[in-house]
């Protein structure tokens, strides 16, 4: 995304349609590039290369590969500052989730996120609960907690399969 020039010969004009059709994506087209999102963005304040307005433009101009392969789409901290300030009701934090989901489907997911799926399938939570955790809780007079992983095996079977299929396709390629 560091390239300053957008190559319109590579435009995939279906991208905006695809984003708009997803839950949380429909507000995309209301953007009139005022830049309030970027001005309010707390990540932008510390790392000015990250620019929500530019990401929206790239989507509207169909720069599919540039957007979905970009490390920038993973830099939304989901603080919602942009969304609260936008005069046109563009929900950029929600759009960021749509873009990240699309990127995952096209094989660009950070390993730290996919590892969480397996943790959740195994334990139903992000942290394993052993007797050690419960002993600490009991010593403080807090009730024990138990893992309920069975439901998560059922709920996440499909996602886990999709991610595994993706990883296999990558390694074959």
């Amino acid at each position: 995304m560091a390239e300053a020039v957008i190559d319109l010969s590579r435009a995939d004009l279906g991208l905006a349609e695809e984003v708009a059709a997803r839950p949380g994506g429909a507000s995309l087209r209301a953007c009139f590039t005022c830049g309030a999102c970027t001005a309010a963005c707390q990540v932008h304040r510390q790392g000015p290369d990250y620019d929500p307005r530019r990401i929206i433009r790239l989507v509207l101009l169909g720069q599919r590969e540039e957007v979905l392969s970009s490390p920038f789409i993973w830099q939304c901290a989901t603080c919602y500052s942009c969304q609260e300030i936008c005069p046109m009701g563009v929900r950029f934090a929600d759009l960021s989730f749509v873009l990240k989901n699309l990127a995952v489907e096209e094989g660009y997911s950070p390993p730290s996120l996919t590892a969480q799926v397996e943790l959740l399938r195994g334990h139903g939570r992000l942290y394993e609960i052993t007797d050690f955790e419960n002993q600490k809780r009991t010593d403080l007079g807090l009730p024990e907690i138990r893992e309920k992983a069975a439901d998560f095996q059922v709920m996440l079977a499909d996602l886990s399969g999709r991610l595994a299929g993706r990883a296999e396709a990558e390694s074959e390629a």
Binding site: G47, W74, Q75, C79, E84, N101, Q116, L142, M155, L159
Partner: protein, 290 residues
């Protein structure tokens, strides 16, 4: 008054001081917190990967909560935000609800619209009420100065949080600090993001965001920064030493969870409120109320 307690993943493992203090505060305020052993992950970690799967995880918890007929309260801002957003979309979109209920049927569960979701702190403000809390205060924290840290998902998106506080210039945590007799310090960064969402993806950027927050509080020489979210805690307390080293700055800002501060005013001792588990401590405060 009764509410269903949603522990989430992080608080019951990493922030026992927060949970302990919240349960003590609830007890003093005659708020019964009911435990539901079936709760699991709220769904937040999956939003970036697949929002539909994240929604399903949230809906499972909401369906379990529905059976109790009680409002759900949680200490984690990410859980509160994710569950409230999920309830909002399930309540307002019949097609989404039908689809999710079809998946929940595999688990023998179903979501009925209307489940109320609160951050514990919001529950104190809007359901318990500041007057009722103030009436239970038995000792004053006059002379102590704290900076409130709202974080993000306690307030936003405001479409879901329903305007109980101003997302740009929030006041509820300030009021809650003030009813203990302590002074709430506006250091200009009280509604900042800690950067926690980026820690696993770009640590340097995440640390920069927390640095700016910690410096603002440090510059005002507050007795502590008052948090209401376990992810803000990962950044502002857990990463604090590392951030000081990385940017070569002598940063030491004591960190508390709000119920620990209120708990002191309600008459509990620092030990009862888990002060020993705080990592960046304020020894003077612990000694003054010990």
């Amino acid at each position: 008054m009764k509410a269903l307690f949603f522990p989430g993943c992080t608080v019951p493992v990493r922030n026992l001081n927060y949970e302990l203090a919240a349960r003590k505060v609830a007890q003093a305020l005659d708020l019964e917190l009911v435990d539901e052993p079936g709760f699991g992950c709220c769904g937040f970690p999956l939003r970036s990967l697949a929002v539909a799967d994240s929604l399903l995880l949230a809906a499972r918890n909401l369906a379990l909560a529905g059976a109790s007929g009680l409002p759900l309260v949680t200490l984690c801002s990410a859980c509160a935000g994710t569950l409230a957003e999920a309830a909002h979309s399930l309540d307002h979109d019949e097609a989404v609800r039908d689809q999710v209920n079809e998946q929940l049927a595999q688990l023998g569960l179903s979501y009925t619209p209307g489940q109320r979701v609160f951050h514990f702190i919001r529950f104190l403000v809007t359901e318990v009420g500041l007057d009722r809390i103030e009436a239970k205060v038995v000792r004053s924290l006059k002379g102590w100065r704290f900076s409130p840290h709202y974080g993000c998902h306690y307030l936003k998106p405001s479409q879901v949080s329903g305007g109980f506080d101003d997302p740009h210039r929030p006041v509820t945590l300030k009021r809650l600090i003030e009813i203990t007799g302590a002074e709430s310090i506006d250091d200009g960064r009280t509604a900042d993001c800690c950067g926690g969402g980026l820690l696993g993806l770009n640590e340097e950027l995440a640390n920069k965001m927390s640095l700016s927050r910690l410096k603002a509080a440090g510059d005002r020489e507050v007795d502590g920064l008052v948090l209401i979210c376990p992810f803000c805690n990962v950044m502002l307390e857990g990463q604090q030493k590392k951030i000081g080293k990385q940017f070569d700055l002598p940063i030491k800002v004591p960190i508390f969870f709000y119920p620990q501060i209120l708990g002191l005013a309600l008459g509990y001792s620092p030990d009862e409120l888990g002060f020993k588990l705080n990592r960046v401590k304020n020894k003077e405060l612990a000694e003054a109320f010990g």
